[in-house]
């Protein structure tokens, strides 16, 4: 009898803690999802302007999306979108190549400059990344990349040029590939290049996907570098500067709901990429060859 009572009270205690935990998690989840929910609501709101009088819109419309893509006279969103896409594709190709080659060298090859290079990368990482931004602008200007269509080249260089410093995650991944595989390949007469291209790369799909996606996402989410490099050349703006400008004082009243629509348009593909990538990210951290 007593035992039954104790069991019941334990069960009840468990039930109470579980309920508390679930209520707490729901509250937290609401806090975390609230801003996202709100921007989706705003993107369908019919009344313009940033000053809301009620939380839920009074009427709903798709006009915000329509005018985002058709009203190109002041802020040309479709053009910004193509600009960003072009820049993202090229900088993604270059930086993937840079990251993979550097991390392979750091992980598998032993040479004189290796430790020095790693220390250098660590020291460079301690400087505020845009401290040299103004200097980068003048360097690009002095080789004629600051005007007209060359701005795109300049942005590609800015996003991918120093990618060789971001080797930590990929190096960690390569470190987990057993060295025995390399040695077996050497015994079969492979050169180092063949080991890299025929043994390591095929085993590294997760980290390649991860590198490709992160570098592809870079230009979509950065706006500081883009702002400094583009200056007033509105023709070459990326979406990030475009969205930022929509919230500036002279545009905010007319463009606020369009900003929300633009934010939704950008966020959906990036969110999908991210959730897809997250699997590779955890795989990448846990290693290539499972025991």
């Amino acid at each position: 009898m007593n035992e039954k009572k104790a069991l019941r009270s334990m069960k009840r205690k468990k039930f109470v803690t579980n309920s508390i935990v679930h209520v707490l998690l729901s509250i937290l989840a609401v806090i975390w999802v609230f801003p996202i929910f709100w921007v989706v609501l705003t993107s369908f709101r019919a009344e313009k302007g940033s000053y809301v009088s009620s939380f839920f819109p009074k009427s709903y419309t798709l006009d915000n999306y329509k005018s985002l893509f058709t009203n190109t006279s002041v802020l040309n969103f479709p053009k910004m979108f193509t600009n960003t896409l072009i820049i993202a594709i090229f900088s993604c190709l270059i930086s993937t190549f840079f990251v993979l080659s550097v991390s392979y060298c750091m992980s598998r090859l032993r040479f004189k400059m290796r430790k020095k290079y790693m220390n250098m990368a660590m020291i460079l990482g301690l400087f505020p990344s845009f401290m040299s931004m103004v200097a980068v602008y003048y360097i690009l200007k002095s080789i004629g990349l600051s005007e007209g269509a060359m701005i795109r080249v300049a942005l590609v260089l800015v996003y991918s040029g120093a990618a060789g410093l971001q080797f930590y995650i990929a190096k960690g991944f390569f470190d987990t590939i057993p060295k025995a595989l390399d040695e077996a390949a050497y015994i079969d007469g492979c050169t180092k290049w063949q080991v890299f291209s025929k043994v390591t790369i095929p085993l590294s799909k997760p980290i390649i996907v991860y590198t490709v996606l992160t570098s592809f996402m870079g230009p979509w989410v950065d706006f500081i570098f883009a702002k400094v490099i583009c200056r007033a050349n509105a023709d070459y703006y990326t979406v990030a500067i475009g969205l930022w400008r929509m919230l500036e004082r002279e545009y905010i009243d007319k463009w606020y709901t369009c900003f929300a629509a633009g934010a939704v348009c950008i966020s959906i593909p990036i969110a999908i990429l991210f959730i897809f990538m997250q699997r590779f990210y955890t795989d990448g951290l846990s290693g290539a060859v499972k025991g």
């Binding site: 998690l25 937290l28 806090i31 845009f130 103004v134 002095s142 979509w220």
Partner: protein
């Protein structure tokens, strides 16, 4: 501290050094110190020799054409101002081209880079000549050009793979950084109209920034203090709350684990600048949060989220939690599952409750494993530009000051350079940020296991 200054042992000794070339090299080798590639050409490595020679010729041509002039101008940084000149033929005043100190500095530093690069090429050429000479004397095989190419994909693969990334880093990271650092020693600012012509001023800017009695110095120390407070809070709170969240989601009784995880991950998946801009508009005096609270009758006046210094500081820390906690959750979930279950069972037997197990088992274990991660996060938070700039923009800013109450060193740096054109002070701030971070992380990082025993798991 001791191993910071550990003596380096050369792991890759080579007999083909410049010193040996001077001591033991043949006359051809010694001549190739003047005419690069001569030693290679004499030993039938004609293409390699010609490449060295071509590099030398182009370097000399560059130096004669502009390099030497660029470097010589570094000392004065130019002093010829643009002047109005009467043009007789056109009948108008024209501006004569004056010196632009910024370009002089940039070209000078770039030329110095080229010169250093040439020294490296020279060393490699002399060594290569000596090597060919040495191999020939000992009757060994001398690599043909085809052999060299083959080596680039085998023994010297690192050279092939590292060249382009390294050039990128040199041009877009190191060169601009040195350019910026040298600005810290000039008077390049709108102060005293030095935006076109400026001079070296030595350590004067540093003295000004570090001086307690100067208004700039006072701003610096208060911004530095807030930056450190911010970094400690942002790192520590994110770490602990993210870990608690991960534990709560992972505990046995929790249902719908992947649904909760998805809710939190959703906020990372949205680009940071989008979610931060949304937050900013939501927290304005007439933004969604204030409207909602006023409609519910909870407050009569809008809350001063970004207008009151204390409110603003708390707001940015709290919003940074919103941004950062899901990240920590994502990253620590895997590590948490690695903590040996026996530890928890033993604690349970001893009658420890959840709070005690967290502080006695989970936290110490996690701290042990994730110290490098914590250092990176701390560095990231000191340099956390996005959160501050997009949320509060550093505001509220006291009248007459260049730094706002929520400005970090980085956002202040940005404002000083981009908005207010105090380039020299901005550069000083950047250097000081670097020094603070370097001291904190170098000492900690070099004492962690992952640095000392890098190949422990291979």
């Amino acid at each position: 501290m001791a191993n910071l200054f550990k003596k380096h042992v050369n792991e890759f000794p080579s007999p083909y050094t410049v010193k040996n070339a001077v001591k033991e090299g043949s006359i051809v080798t010694k001549l190739s110190m003047l005419i690069l590639g001569l030693g290679n050409i004499a030993n039938k490595q004609i293409i390699k020799g010609l490449i060295y020679l071509a590099l030398e010729v182009s370097f000399i041509a560059f130096m004669v054409m502009s390099g030497a002039h660029n470097i010589s101008m570094l000392g004065s940084l130019g002093d010829k101002a643009a002047e109005e000149v009467w043009n007789e033929a056109k009948g108008i005043y024209e501006y004569s081209a004056g010196d632009d100190s910024l370009l002089i500095l940039l070209y000078g530093i770039a030329s110095l880079f080229v010169a250093v690069g040439f020294v490296l090429i020279w060393v490699s050429a002399v060594r290569s000549a000596y090597k060919a000479d040495y191999l020939k004397k000992n009757g060994k095989h001398i690599n043909s050009f085809a052999d060299d190419i083959k080596d680039l994909f085998d023994k010297n693969l690192h050279k092939t793979l590292m060249t382009l990334p390294m050039l990128g880093i040199l041009a877009l990271s190191i060169l601009p950084l040195i350019f910026m650092i040298s600005m810290a020693f000039t008077n390049y600012s709108k102060d005293g109209d030095h935006l076109v012509l400026f001079d070296w001023v030595g350590l004067k800017n540093f003295a000004k920034v570090l001086n307690f009695s100067d208004s700039l110095g006072q701003s610096f120390w208060s911004v530095l203090g807030w930056t450190l407070v911010w970094a400690v809070f942002a790192t520590g709170l994110n770490y602990i709350l993210g870990m608690i969240l991960a534990i709560v989601i992972n505990r046995k009784g929790t249902r719908l684990k992947s649904f909760w995880r998805f809710c939190f991950i959703l906020s990372i998946a949205v680009p940071q600048f989008v979610s931060l801009l949304i937050m900013r508009t939501m927290l304005q005096p007439s933004g969604a949060v204030n409207v909602l609270l006023q409609n519910m009758g909870l407050i009569s006046q809008p809350l001063p989220f970004f207008t009151d210094p204390t409110w603003a500081r708390v707001t940015v820390i709290v919003i940074n939690l919103w941004v950062g906690v899901p990240y920590t959750m994502l990253q620590v979930t895997g590590i948490l599952q690695n903590i040996p279950a026996e530890l928890y069972e033993a604690a349970k037997v001893d009658g420890a409750n959840a709070v005690v197990t967290f502080f006695k088992i989970t936290l110490p274990y996690m701290l042990f494993v994730t110290t490098p991660y914590l250092i990176t996060t701390f560095t990231g938070n000191v340099n956390n530009f996005n959160v501050i700039y997009l949320l509060s923009g550093g505001d509220p800013t006291p009248v007459g000051s260049t730094a706002g109450k929520t400005d970090l060193l980085v956002t202040w740096l940005y404002k000083l350079t981009i908005d207010q054109q105090y380039y020299n002070i901005g550069a000083v701030i950047g250097i000081l940020t670097f020094i603070v971070l370097a001291i904190v992380s170098l000492v900690t990082y070099r004492n962690t296991g992952s640095y000392k025993n890098e190949e422990g798991f291979q």
